[in-house]
Symmetry: C2
Subunit: 372 residues, 2 copies
C-alpha cells in the first residue's frame, strides 16, 4: 500500500475571525493552488469535523461545495478528536477502492464562537454519558490517567511539565502556531491546578483552524509534484467509551493496536521513525503514546523527551487543537518534515514519519506512517 | 462492481424509550444474529448519524464499541439527511479497497429527547447560515420548491396530497412504521398549513430509530446466506448549500447527477427498476425525485403515483424519518423486497431496486441500485 501526498494547506491556529466555512475554504484553496491545479482535478473530498455544536453549522459537505463552487462527492467523518486521522484513512480507502485517483482531505473546527465553559461541555459529549453525569470531564479523566501513571512508574510531575516546555519551545519556530511563548518547568508546575496533577499549562487550548492535504494514487504523483511523500501504513482502532472499563489506566490499547496495524502495513519498526506527531491534548497523553507506540518501554518516556523529535510543530499544546483539524495538521507537518521544508523546525535527515491521533481518552485512535 | 448484502436489522420507528446507544445496538444485534455470526466476523463498522445536538452524545464509534464489547475499526459519517446513503457508500468503498471483507452499517437518530421546536432548529443547522438568519427552515424552503413546481408544470395540490395518502396506506403493512393510520386527500388538504402549499400531512415526522445492514465481498456471501442481494451501483453528489443559488427550483441536480453515476455503474436504466425507495421528507420531494431519477418526464410524476411501486414501507412520511437511520432503512426495505420477504407489502417480481437519499433541499444525494 502506497498513497501519494502531493500538497497541503494550513491556516493559522488560534482565536480567529473567520467562520467555519472560510477556514475550510482557505486551507483547501492553499492546497489546490500550491500545485496549480483546478478543482476539476479533485475527484472527491473528505471533511473532518468534530461537532456542529461549536459552529452551529452541520452539512459541511454542502457548505464546502458552495465555497469551492463545485458539484463533487464530499463526505464528513467524525470520531471525536481522532476525526482528522480518520478522514485521512477514509480518503486512503477511497483511493484504494479504485473509484478515485485524487482526494482532498480537510479538517476544521471553529471553537471560539462559544464561551469556554460551553466548549468544555461540547467536548464532554464525546465521553461516556454515565461518567459525564457524575461530573467527569476530559481534564479530570486525563488527571486520573496521570495520577496512575506517575504512581505506577514512579514518574515525577516535572516530566509532565517538560512536555509542555518542549512543545512551547518548538512552537516558536512554527509561524502558524497559536502560542509563541517559551515557558519554564516552574511556570507549568506553578500554573493553576485544573485537575490534579494537571495544571493549566499541561492542557491544550481551545482553538480555531483548518488544515488540508491532497492525496493521490501513487502512480500519479508526478502530475502534481516532483517531491511527493508517501503514506505507507495506516491503522485504526476503537474501543469502549467507558473509562471505568479500562483495566490499566497507564496504557491506551487503541494506540497499541492501531500502531501495530500501521507498522505491519508499512513494514517498518518504531526504531525506523525519524520524526513523530503525537496527540498531546494533555501532557500525560504524549508520555503514554511514546510508550504505546513502541518508541520506548513503559515508564521510560521521560528519558527520551529531549532526544527524540516529537511534535516539532509545537503539538496540540502550543500549536493549538482545533479538534477536527488536528489529525490533518499532523499529516501536514510530517509532509513538510519529509520534504525538508520545515524551516527552522526541520528535523535533520527525516525520511520516515508517524502521526498518532486519538479521540476521547484514547477510546479511538488512527496511526499513519509516511516515507519519502 | 458488486457488493453482497447479507443481513439486516431494524428497530421500530417513532417516539421510543431507548437511548441512542440502545437503538444502535438493537439494530446491529439483529443484523448479526439474523445470520448467526459473532462480531469477530465483522471487519469494520460504519455509523450514520446526523447530529449529536439531538442526543447530547458524540463519538458514537466508541459508544458502539462499548455496546458490542469490541475493539474494532468504527467510523461515523454525516451529510445531513443523506448520512445513511453515504455510510452505505463508504462501506462499499471500504470493501472495494481490499482492506475489509465484511462491513456492518448502522444508521441511527434519537430526535425525541428535544422539544419539537428545538429539533427544528437542529435540523436547520444543515441549511445555509445566511438563509437561516432570514428565517428559512426546511419546511419553508420545500414550500418554495412546491410553489414553483406546481406553477411550472401546472400540477394541482391534490397530487402532493396523493403522495401522503399512498405512503400512509403503504405503512399499514409495515409493522415497524411510526404511523398505522390511513388518511384521505381531503384530510391532507385540510390539515394545518405549515408553509403554503405544504400542510402538516405533507411533512415527515420527528422520529427515533435505527437500521442496519451487513455488506460483504461478493465472493463471500455464501458464508452468510443462501439468499444474498447485490449492490450493483452507487452514485453520490454534493452541491451548494445556498438555496438562492439554484437556477431551477423544480429539479434537484444532485439527484440527476448521483443517479446517472449509479445507473452507469450498475449498467441498468430507470425502466429496469422494479421498486424504489425515495426521500419523501416532504411530499413534493417524492414528485421531484421520481422525475430527476428518470422514471418519467418533468411534470409527469403525478401520473405514476398509483402505478409505480415507490416507498412500499411507507416512506419517510409514514414509516418515520430518524435522520441518520433513513438512508440505511431504505436499503433494508429493498433488501427485503428483493428477497421476497416483505410480507403484505411485497412488490411482485421485484428483481432490481433503487434507493434515493437526499440531504438538505437535495444539496447532497446518494443513489444506490440493488439486484438479486
Amino acid at each position: 500500500m502506497k498513497i501519494g501526498v502531493v500538497s497541503s494547506g494550513h491556516t493559522k491556529f488560534g482565536k480567529l475571525n473567520e467562520d467555519i466555512g472560510e477556514l475550510m475554504y482557505t486551507a483547501c484553496k492553499q492546497a489546490i493552488e500550491n500545485i496549480n491545479i483546478g478543482t476539476d482535478k479533485i475527484d472527491a473530498i473528505y471533511i473532518s469535523n468534530f461537532s456542529s455544536s461549536f459552529s452551529g453549522q452541520s452539512h459541511l459537505s454542502s457548505l464546502l461545495a458552495s465555497k469551492l463552487s463545485v458539484n463533487k462527492e464530499i463526505t464528513r467523518v467524525e470520531s471525536a478528536c481522532a476525526s482528522g486521522g480518520l478522514a485521512i484513512k477514509e480518503a486512503t480507502l477511497a483511493i484504494l477502492s479504485g473509484l478515485y485517483d485524487t482526494v482532498l482531505v480537510v479538517g476544521v473546527e471553529k471553537m471560539s464562537s462559544k464561551p469556554a465553559e460551553d466548549a468544555i461541555s461540547v467536548l464532554a459529549t464525546s465521553g461516556s454519558e454515565f461518567e459525564r453525569q457524575h461530573g467527569a470531564t476530559f481534564p479530570s479523566l486525563y488527571a486520573l490517567v496521570a495520577q496512575r501513571y506517575c504512581f505506577e512508574y514512579k514518574v515525577e510531575q516535572k516530566y509532565l511539565a517538560k512536555i509542555a516546555v518542549k512543545n512551547h519551545r518548538n512552537a516558536i519556530d512554527n509561524p502558524l502556531a497559536q502560542f509563541h511563548k517559551k515557558i519554564t518547568i516552574n511556570e507549568v508546575l506553578n500554573s493553576p491546578v485544573i485537575a490534579s496533577p494537571l495544571k493549566l499549562l499541561d492542557c491544550s487550548p481551545l482553538s480555531d483552524g483548518a488544515a488540508a492535504v491532497i492525496l493521490c494514487r501513487q502512480d500519479r504523483t508526478a502530475e502534481f509534484t516532483d517531491d511527493p511523500v508517501f503514506l505507507v501504513g495506516i491503522g485504526h482502532d476503537t474501543e469502549t467509551i467507558n473509562f471505568y472499563q479500562r483495566s490499566d489506566l497507564a496504557t491506551m490499547p487503541t494506540v497499541v493496536n492501531a500502531s501495530a496495524k500501521a507498522f505491519e502495513m508499512a513494514n517498518v519498526k518504531p526504531a525506523d521513525i525519524d520524526v513523530a506527531e503525537v496527540h498531546d491534548c494533555f501532557t500525560i497523553a504524549e508520555l503514554l503514546q511514546l510508550e504505546d507506540l513502541g518508541f520506548c518501554r513503559k515508564g521510560k518516556a521521560k528519558d527520551i523527551i529531549d532526544t527524540f523529535p516529537i511534535n516539532p510543530d509545537g503539538g496540540l499544546k502550543a500549536k493549538g487543537h482545533p479538534i477536527g483539524a488536528t489529525g490533518v495538521s499532523q499529516v501536514v507537518e510530517i509532509f513538510h518534515q519529509l520534504r525538508r521544508e520545515a524551516g527552522r523546525r526541520q528535523v535533520k535527515n527525516a525520511k520516515t514519519g508517524l502521526c498518532c491521533n486519538i479521540g476521547g481518552v484514547g477510546s479511538s485512535c488512527v496511526v499513519s506512517i509516511f516515507s519519502r
